[in-house]
């Protein structure tokens, strides 16, 4: 058993933070070395930006890449012929999409990691699964979008998959009714992107008084699109409980660039990284690590990516570590606050284009 195997076997959230850091440091240092040796641009960037990397004795001293780099440059640590899966971020309007490439080994590791986390929710049973999305979303063209990646990643945990939305994202009420009838009295798994659940599914539940009291709802994709309607996690949960009797609603946090590395929400809405991953909060101006309790940029460290140098990424999300080894789980409890502010562009260049986008 390798050290990573240990982390992928133990029951989730059972590892105290200190022990976790102790286990992660050598794994992540080895990954840094691996990518330095197999991805020339990575080596070039890291050796210049983090000259002291070899002496890193804490996770915060490890090098990181800004996640946006994957939008503008292709970085991989494998030969082109070894690419098995290409994942792209969904990409908000007018922005570039991220692109990462997985070989067979990293893809396998990602799905194994996902198994461990989802099984802790579903109890390793394949439950009837309602997907709050349309079937067309998983038949993308160039590369796999984040929505498709999440759905396809989760489908193996369910059976009798039912896509609740039509291709125009309207709710297919007949299909939902038939699905509920087929599985009356059974535990059900429901998954969807947060904004699709909020915008389409909840209203249909309210209208039709569906009984999803045996359902567990997993949702992800973030609150970005909901921020303007001022929806918070509590309101979201309360409305689902009231509309469809869903008592178990769990958010998870992850990103297209890091398949398999997902942070699962606890009862208090804090997101916990899996054993093989961790989170550091950095000041968005100085990029120095911040003490717990102070909000800043979220950096994600994860032992999964071997095919591309994504094992330490500085995201553009703002978050705060609100708990460590407390609140019912071991590890860091993260709260995501939202997107980091965008630069207000001044100058003659690109300004109008940005405004027009």
């Amino acid at each position: 058993m390798t050290a990573l195997d240990d982390l992928l076997t133990a029951p989730p959230f059972s590892l105290p933070q200190k022990e976790k850091e102790h286990a992660l440091l050598p794994l992540l240092k080895e990954l840094t070395e691996h990518h330095r040796n197999t991805c020339a641009p990575y080596r070039r960037m890291i050796d210049l930006a983090f000259p002291q990397v070899a002496e890193a004795s804490t996770l915060a001293q490890l090098p990181y890449l800004p996640i946006s780099l994957f939008k503008f440059r292709r970085l991989r640590s494998i030969a082109e012929s070894d690419i098995r899966v290409t994942v792209t971020s969904s990409g908000t309007t007018g922005t570039e999409k991220s692109r990462i490439e997985l070989d067979a080994a990293t893809a396998k590791l990602s799905s194994r990691a996902l198994n461990l986390i989802i099984n802790s929710v579903t109890g390793a049973r394949r439950l009837p699964m309602l997907i709050v999305d349309c079937e067309a979303s998983i038949k993308g063209g160039d590369g796999m979008g984040a929505r498709a990646a999440a759905i396809l990643g989760l489908m193996p945990f369910g059976r009798d998959h039912c896509f609740a939305l039509r291709d125009n994202l309207g709710v297919d009420e007949d299909k939902i009714a038939a699905f509920l009838k087929r599985h009356e009295g059974q535990d059900i798994l429901i998954y969807g992107f947060t904004f699709l659940v909020w915008q389409h599914f909840i209203t249909a539940c309210e209208k039709n008084s569906y009984d999803f009291s045996r359902g567990t709802l997993l949702h992800s994709g973030g609150w970005k699109k909901l921020a303007e309607s001022a929806v918070d996690n509590n309101a979201f949960k309360a409305r689902l409980k009231k509309a469809a009797g869903i008592g178990c609603v769990m958010n998870f946090y992850g990103m297209a660039e890091l398949p398999g590395t997902i942070f699962l929400e606890n009862e208090n809405g804090l997101l916990y990284p899996p054993h093989f991953a961790d989170v550091i909060i950095r000041d968005p101006i100085t990029f120095q690590p911040l003490p717990h309790g102070q909000p800043g940029l979220v950096q994600i460290l994860t032992s999964l990516p071997r095919s591309y140098p994504g094992h330490s990424l500085l995201t553009e999300d703002m978050g705060v570590i609100e708990a460590t080894d407390s609140d019912g789980r071991y590890g860091h409890g993260l709260r995501i606050i939202g997107r980091a502010p965008r630069a207000e562009l001044r100058g003659c260049s690109d300004v109008i284009a940005r405004e027009a986008a």
């Binding site: 780099l69 440059r73 502010p341 109008i352």
Partner: protein, 409 residues
């Protein structure tokens, strides 16, 4: 079609049609280029800009006020408008959204040329622009109604229908913006005889003579740094004339010594002047810094606090492509060359302004006259990079906004 807000002489909602007929009515009574009426308005605006306590806190408004003072306007009129010419008619300007003061210069030139001018201000307001508009309004109020009607300042969103209607009515369209914006606007039709002048993305640099730097005492160095600070940091280093590449001229040892002294001074000057990028700016800056590390031949990467990051390059490989990346907020690329003339073969059409410090006239001449030079339309002293120049990107704005008569003896 979206609604237009006319800002001057009074705020009112109007239609594109009304804006066009106002411009036509004004253009039907052309003024002679360099008329006393317009000179008076320029002088009034200058006095307001230089006299207003609020405007005094914005160096860019002070620069405009200085440029508009009577002596300066007189000498420009003499220099640019003395040969016989007529007004062009209606000039339609689309200035960049955030060099907020540019339309103050260009609308004044349009009026001095005798035209009626339609200005499309970007939809986002900012304090400098708001203040300038209100001072312009005050200046117009001190002038004749005929003059007031010639300056039609409009605010509307990105609406091709409006832009098209205004374009169809004008004799000259002048556009500033990214290459993308310029291309987009250029595709909208103009009357057959109308002119189109555009200013797209450019790249600018600064050359420093290392030996000359080392000859200065500490106090003198700090005085120069203050000038260089303005060039780099006003407009967040994102104006087309803001230097983004430093060229150190000198031998390896001298250049290293000068650079080692220069960067910490620049960073502490920026800090002392209160330059502090916010979170969004710092993140954008880190993103483009990593792109530079990825794309360029970087020998050293040094952060001098949030105000300044320097990437010392071993050569120019990759730079031509990287110039299209919109980086700023205090990131400098740096190269070293033995002589300024050696820089010439590395220049290209995109290069606009070269701010120079510490060179003898013959060194500058050797660069300017070098046969392999492909870029740079302006060479200016350090501290002057952002100074408005009526010959911009090689285009004489007074000529562009008038019709000089061609004569053949």
């Amino acid at each position: 079609m979206s609604a237009l807000l006319r800002l001057l002489p009074e705020k009112q909602d109007i239609s594109a049609e009304i804006a066009v007929s106002a411009a036509r009515a004004a253009a039907a009574q052309p003024l002679a280029p360099g008329s006393d009426d317009v000179k008076k308005y320029c002088g009034d605006l200058s006095a307001l800009l230089l006299g207003s306590a609020e405007a005094r806190s914005y160096p860019e408004l002070q620069a405009l006020g200085f440029w508009l003072r009577p002596a300066s306007v007189d000498s420009m009129v003499k220099k640019f408008l003395s040969s016989p010419r007529t007004a062009i008619g209606i000039a339609f300007h689309m200035p960049p959204s955030n060099v907020a003061t540019l339309f103050g210069y260009t609308s004044s030139i349009a009026l001095l040329c005798g035209n009626a001018v339609l200005v499309r201000l970007p939809s986002a307001e900012n304090p400098v622009q708001t203040l300038l508009v209100s001072l312009m309004q005050e200046a117009l109020a001190q002038n004749s109604r005929a003059l007031r009607e010639r300056l039609i300042l409009l605010r509307y969103g990105h609406d091709d229908a409006v832009t098209s209607e205004l374009s169809r009515a004008c004799q000259l369209r002048m556009v500033w913006g990214s290459d993308e914006t310029v291309e987009h606007i250029s595709a909208l039709p103009l009357p057959a005889a109308a002119r189109h002048v555009s200013f797209g993305d450019r790249y600018s640099a600064m050359a420093l003579k290392a030996a000359a730097w080392l000859r200065l005492n500490s106090e003198e160095r700090n005085d120069v740094i203050k000038q260089i600070f303005n060039d780099i940091y006003v407009f967040d280093q994102l104006a087309c004339a803001s230097p983004r590449l430093l060229v150190w001229v000198g031998d390896e040892k001298t250049a290293a010594q000068a650079a080692e002294d220069f960067y910490p001074r620049l960073a502490s000057c920026a800090k002392a002047r209160g330059y502090m990028p916010g979170a969004g700016e710092s993140i954008a800056k880190q993103n483009t810094n990593f792109l530079a590390l990825h794309d360029l031949a970087v020998a050293a990467y040094t952060n001098y606090g949030p105000q300044l990051t320097v990437l010392a390059l071993t050569g120019f490989e990759g730079l031509s492509t990287f110039k299209k990346v919109n980086y700023g907020y205090g990131t400098l690329l740096a190269v070293r060359l033995e002589t300024l003339a050696e820089f010439a073969p590395h220049t290209e059409a995109r290069d606009q302004t070269l701010s120079c410090w510490g060179f003898a006239e013959d060194e500058m001449q050797a660069f300017a006259g070098a046969g392999k030079r492909r870029g740079f339309d302006r060479m200016v002293a350090a501290g002057q990079a952002l100074t408005f120049d009526p010959v911009w990107d090689g285009c004489n704005l007074f000529d562009a906004m008038t019709r000089p008569i061609g004569k053949r003896p």
